[in-house]
């Protein structure tokens, strides 16, 4: 199954990466096994977002920068508002990184 490494930059992904780092550094874990764990995380995170999350969000804001490179869109928004059923958040600057969803269904 195809996956993105994208989600490794999320909080949960960073926590996992840190953990694996430590365990590789102190010799508890072999690097290749650590990478297998990361790849499994890519898969599990993608699946979970697809199957377990139902919420919908609308984003509005001033588009400061846009970039499309290697099938990845990067937007930098200013004064962005995020609205979902649960909450509304406003931030002065936010970066959106989005991979092409079609790549996963290839």
């Amino acid at each position: 199954m195809a996956t993105f490494e994208l989600y490794r930059r999320s909080t949960i992904g960073m926590c996992l990466t840190e953990t694996l780092d430590e365990m590789v550094q102190n010799g508890t874990l072999s690097p290749e096994l650590a990478i297998q764990v990361l790849i499994q995380f890519d898969k599990s995170m993608t699946e979970a977002l697809d199957s377990q999350v139902k919420s919908k969000v609308t984003i509005k804001g001033h588009l400061h920068t846009y970039r499309f490179c290697d099938n990845v869109w990067t937007f930098i928004l200013q004064d962005a508002t995020f609205k979902s059923d649960e909450c509304q958040e406003t931030v002065g600057r936010v970066k959106i990184v989005a991979c092409d969803s079609k790549l996963l269904t290839q």
């Binding site: 195809a2 508890t28 072999s30 297998q36 919908k56 509005k60 931030v91 989005a98 290839q106």
Partner: protein
């Protein structure tokens, strides 16, 4: 620091899912064992709680935690001889009687065998300033890690050093045919008796030879130019070794980063898994890694005052953005279905996203964005 309950439960589900699905790798065939897996999960969850994104194991969706006693036990028996040494010794020790190697040469097969767990000390550990973790580079185009990013992982960033790997050159020079899979095959030939052991053991030396993870599918793009030249012209191992040195005596010593710049895909550490994965993930490594590699290029041996061509592009573009962004760290990671623009009005539909906004993690299934440029 609020942890939304849905986010928390999804995260816990992911943790469980990952742990369950890698369990086989940990307990079978000389893996480090269930204890290490438990440690991994514990550390991971602790960090998550520290970050405030999970509420604690109490609200864990009741997944029956698979216990080692059940399914894993029969398999575990296979590893009985390994018990008690899990933290100390690599499985390779079981294959070969330990030979004292006080100062093993990096890159030799023997040192790889006995250095499995200390591999990261064999090569320079990139400092946080000089190297970016591949997973953070889109965030910090200048190579400066965001403050919530961990220091780069040596085992992720490792790459083959130029020409230390005499064994590679030797075998390639001799056979001079199969360039693609040669790294893997030769290592096996040289040190592994046909033991029928699992693949993982065979792979170990490659990681130690500079921590490089072999690409097994498709063309091997990691063979350095030096090796290629030697391979064609100098089949003898001694001349091979000399041939490698000669170019460094006259003129400047080749900057290892040059290689990196010209072959970004050298980091294709995902190659182990499968081709499908590579296809889909190719965009991300390019997007993520290139900037950090450029950021690394402050090597003192780089005698050229001119910066590499595309370095300035990234820096100029992002300097202003990143300065503030490091402090704010609002980030949305998602997949896009569609991005359209009418004049200055942009619309996009995103899905399967993780947002980290105002210190909260929010997940979404769908998102629509309307931006004014």
């Amino acid at each position: 620091m609020a942890a939304s309950s849905t986010t928390s439960s999804v995260y816990l589900h992911v943790i469980e899912d990952v742990i369950t699905k890698v369990r086989d790798e940990f307990v079978n065939n000389g893996g480090p064992g269930e204890d290490v897996l438990t440690e991994l999960q514990g550390l991971w969850e602790a960090k998550m709680m520290q970050a405030g994104v999970i509420l604690g194991p109490a609200d864990r969706p009741l997944v029956t935690k698979p216990t080692p006693a059940g399914a894993a036990a029969p398999v575990h028996d296979l590893n009985v001889p390994y018990e008690g040494e899990e933290y100390e010794t690599p499985t390779a020790d079981m294959l070969f009687p330990p030979t004292p190697l006080p100062t093993p040469l990096p890159g030799t097969v023997d040192s790889s065998l006995y250095n499995i767990h200390t591999g990261s000390s064999d090569y320079p550990t990139p400092g946080p300033e000089s190297t970016g973790n591949p997973s953070e580079n889109a965030e910090s185009k200048t190579g400066r890690p965001g403050s919530y990013m961990p220091p780069p992982s040596p085992w992720i960033d490792q790459r083959p050093s130029l020409g230390v790997d005499v064994n590679v050159a030797y075998v390639e020079g001799r056979e001079d045919t199969d360039r693609g899979g040669s790294r893997q095959i030769l290592a096996k030939d040289l040190f592994v008796p046909p033991s029928g052991k699992r693949k993982r053991d065979d792979l170990v030396p490659q990681y130690q030879n500079g921590g490089f993870i072999p690409q097994q599918d498709g063309a091997d793009d990691t063979i350095s130019e030096a090796l290629l030249v030697k391979e064609e012209t100098l089949p003898n191992i001694e001349t091979l070794f000399l041939g490698q040195k000669i170019p460094q005596l006259d003129g400047q010593i080749p900057d290892p980063y040059d290689d990196m710049l010209s072959t970004p895909n050298i980091y294709n550490y995902q190659g182990v898994v499968n081709e499908d994965y590579n296809v889909a993930s190719t965009p991300m490594p390019n997007e993520l890694q290139t900037p950090a590699q450029l950021g690394n290029n402050d090597d003192p041996e780089d005698d050229d005052d001119d910066e590499p061509l595309n370095e300035n592009d990234d820096d100029d573009l992002d300097d202003v953005d990143e300065e503030e962004e490091v402090n704010t760290q609002h980030l949305v990671l998602a997949q896009f279905d569609k991005v359209t623009r009418t004049k200055s009005r942009w619309k996009c539909t995103l899905k399967d996203g993780i947002m980290h906004i105002n210190n909260k993690d929010i997940l979404f299934n769908k998102a629509t964005g309307e931006f004014e440029f």
